[in-house]
Homo-oligomer: 472 residues x 2
């Protein structure tokens, strides 16, 4: 309850900021005064009002607020939105803002701007921004290099503490990420990193070498995000340097972009588990959404048709004992659920650690044990209830009811154990084949489980109920 | 290919570190020398060798490496693992390490240590650590306060630039997170924040007020993680202050813990989508895993039994025209898949932004449109193939085949549109009721979709195939 209250209290702050900001903006004080007042607010809060106010008011804002603050503001909105606002400005202003933005953010925004305007804008960027943006745009979106910023402090390895401190102060004006200083040799080869904190508390006469962490972690720009995500998380650092193939320092991954990257990676796995090829967002047009969903649906349809033909094989069994088809969905669903659970667990485990063969084996057996014991419990429950249902509600007699529900219970246990195994083995296999298990596993598992469940269920029924008990 | 190569190249570095580190540790140089050499390595790399080496070698490491480095090392391993290592040390050492650790990490580790030892350890902590740990332990695990650290730099609002700089240097030795300085008034009420960078480049005589961001974002310790996660991500800051209900500064959330929090939040949703109550990890005992999975399976079983009774109602239809039951699984699976897709999209959208009624309506209609067009396509495909299959493979004649597959095609379209709607509406509803949609939606949607699909399919078949075409 108290949380509720506090939450409302806090959430009610942001609208307040919004009204304050809009109030200031609409006021008719001198531009300078308005600019000063606005500078007290957080860029994210100012960004929040942009969609609310009119284009005229936005244009007033563009004129009043200085370029670097505008670039901070645009960095904290979605790319599409940012590109829309840039379209409202004259080219020079837009170019100036893009030049000030984090290069990786600028690249994302530029991607959203229509070609002819984009080319002019790039042409108008200041040379450094042009260089940085070209560098970052040179990486594919799934390469870690595309997530880096060139906005960091770099020093030579042969400086004294004093010189290093000076060099920091010089660069700090231009670069935000100062908590770690990166050290290179005369050829720009990455040499190590210095924690700003150590530099600040270092006594006079301390040797720079004592401060430089020479085994500071790093990644290569061409590594795929998935490949180095795990390491980025392991090393609990604010920023990790990105090197080219010659170990030259190109840029850094800040923890801010790491949050983004982790979030995206998880989001994609999440989407894939649900049979989407990638994550969707709200503004996305119909066509794109369909493109992201159809591939799986088509595969699933093909597989589903396969399953149906198998079920078709048991037509005779069902014809003789129709009641059993009523519980097909039950067994299919349950084994499907168990398979999905094992799949999800396995994928997350694979995402978090690199497993030894022994661990993998352990995982599979564990999943099968879980599947068995859950199956046992659920099998017994359904045995009891289905028996009663057929016997009493459907009026086929208790004996008949429990014969059928016996089949159901057993089939359920068998199906769940196999599903658990399949749900673990297949992602492990795909992972081994360097195919993203989150993409490939889902449908395959569902199908195999469906087949297993159907075959077990109907053959057991055919064998015992019709073959032996002659219940047909 | 090149990525492959680079990846192997890079991955091959970590084992190298490991062998180097182990080599140094096993060498028989003076402790001081070994300590110096080890200090060149990243704590995460040293942490990696702990499971590999023997307990004796670990104990040698504990003796040689100083406490603060040991605490860094233990911070970068899992809680269970860390607690195991602490058990290998004498109490005073363990307590000293815990005192040095980030309080939030220390709390997590302490949770893993058996009660009697834990109480002694807490008793042995130094007073400050005791205070910090007590503070953080006072928050529930789902409250943001439990994720904060008390390891930050705080200054009074009335200092001059020079004084602030001094105060920073004094505190820097003790506190890692220095990139943002937090400002409080004489009562410790949060007043704003100063970017270290601005402080460093500030000219003499600049007023402190010009550097203080008075509308710097903050959260309240008792807010649930889910409630403020979105804001934490919005404000692209390295660290965000945590206040108590009287707006006193308690601690900060660092971007490092934010990465963890974002990852956990996503991981839980991911698990929930798969019908797990929470994320599982590798070491987890069988019992716990079952506990996390059974709740859903039981609910799903109950719902599944419900569906089966409904299917049972159509026993007569099936008895007269058994072939149709072969395609039940097809329609159920497809509508299930579409429902899951809509569910996943909706949950992620809800996680990322707070929607207006208009946007919600837009989302629902969009999902239905996607469902319809995908359904149309898939319906036509199955119409064609199923018709051929029944007509030719099953030798029932083309006319009969296409009558049946017509029913299947139409049922599929209807089922998919409704599934898409249900898959969107239910999470929106739960979200409105402040129930986590990721938990509650899954099974309900599956069931409703199963029911819709079964009823549509069998009633259409009964009506047209048996009632009108008399195909029975």
């Amino acid at each position: 309850m108290e949380e509720e209250l506090l939450e409302d209290l806090v959430l009610s702050q942001k609208p307040d900021y919004a009204t304050e900001i809009i109030g200031i903006l609409r006021g008719n004080e001198a531009p300078r005064v308005i600019a000063d007042k606005l500078s007290d607010y957080h860029e994210a809060d100012i960004a929040d009002i942009l969609p609310i106010i009119s284009e005229q008011e936005r244009k007033k804002l563009y004129r009043i607020v200085d370029v670097s603050f505008l670039s901070d503001i645009l960095e904290s909105v979605e790319e599409e939105e940012a590109s829309k606002y840039l379209d409202e400005m004259d080219l020079r202003k837009a170019a100036a803002i893009l030049s000030k933005m984090e290069p990786d953010a600028a690249v994302d925004v530029l991607r959203e701007i229509r070609k002819e305007r984009r080319l002019i804008l790039i042409d108008l960027l200041n040379d450094e921004a042009k260089k940085d943006i070209a560098l970052i745009a040179s990486f594919d979106e799934d390469e870690i290099g595309s997530k880096m910023t060139t906005n960091y402090v770099v020093i030579r390895e042969n400086l004294s503490i004093k010189e290093a401190m000076h060099s920091l102060v010089d660069q700090a004006a231009e670069n935000d990420n100062i908590s770690t200083l990166f050290v290179v040799d005369e050829d720009g080869i990455f040499y190590g990193a210095v924690d700003l904190k150590d530099l600040i508390i270092a006594r006079q006469g301390t040797k720079m070498d004592e401060l430089i962490m020479t085994s500071y972690p790093y990644v290569y720009g061409h590594e795929t995000v998935d490949d180095c995500l795990e390491r980025l998380r392991d090393y609990n650092e604010d920023s990790i340097p990105v090197l080219d193939n010659d170990n030259t320092l190109l840029g850094v991954i800040t923890s801010q972009s790491m949050i983004q990257v982790v979030d995206d990676a998880m989001g994609d796995d999440y989407a894939k588990l649900a049979g989407l090829t990638a994550e969707e967002d709200l503004q996305e047009p119909l066509g794109q959404s369909m493109k992201k969903r159809l591939p799986w649906l088509l595969i699933l349809l093909a597989l589903g048709l396969g399953v149906s033909t198998v079920v078709g094989v048991f037509e005779k069994v069902v014809a003789e004992l129709t009641i059993i088809m009523a519980f097909q969905s039950l067994i299919l669903d349950m084994s499907g659920n168990v398979g999905t659970q094992s799949l999800a667990v396995t994928i997350r485990v694979l995402m978090d650690e690199n497993l030894t063969a022994k661990q993998k084996f352990g995982l599979v057996t564990k999943e099968m044990r879980v599947g068995f014991f859950n199956g046992l419990l659920l099998g017994i429950i359904s045995f009891i209830f289905v028996g009663l249902y057929i016997g009493l509600v459907k009026r086929r007699g208790i004996a008949f009811g429990y014969a059928v529900s016996g089949c159901i219970g057993v089939s359920m246990i068998v199906a769940m154990v196999i599903s658990a195994a399949v749900g673990t083995l297949i992602p492990l296999l795909f992972n081994r084949l360097k195919v993203d298990p989150a993409v490939a596993s889902g449908p395959l598992i569902t199908t195999i489980n469906d087949l297993v469940a159907v075959v077990t269920y109907y053959s057991l029924s055919g064998l015992f109920l019709i073959g032996i008990f002659h219940l047909a």
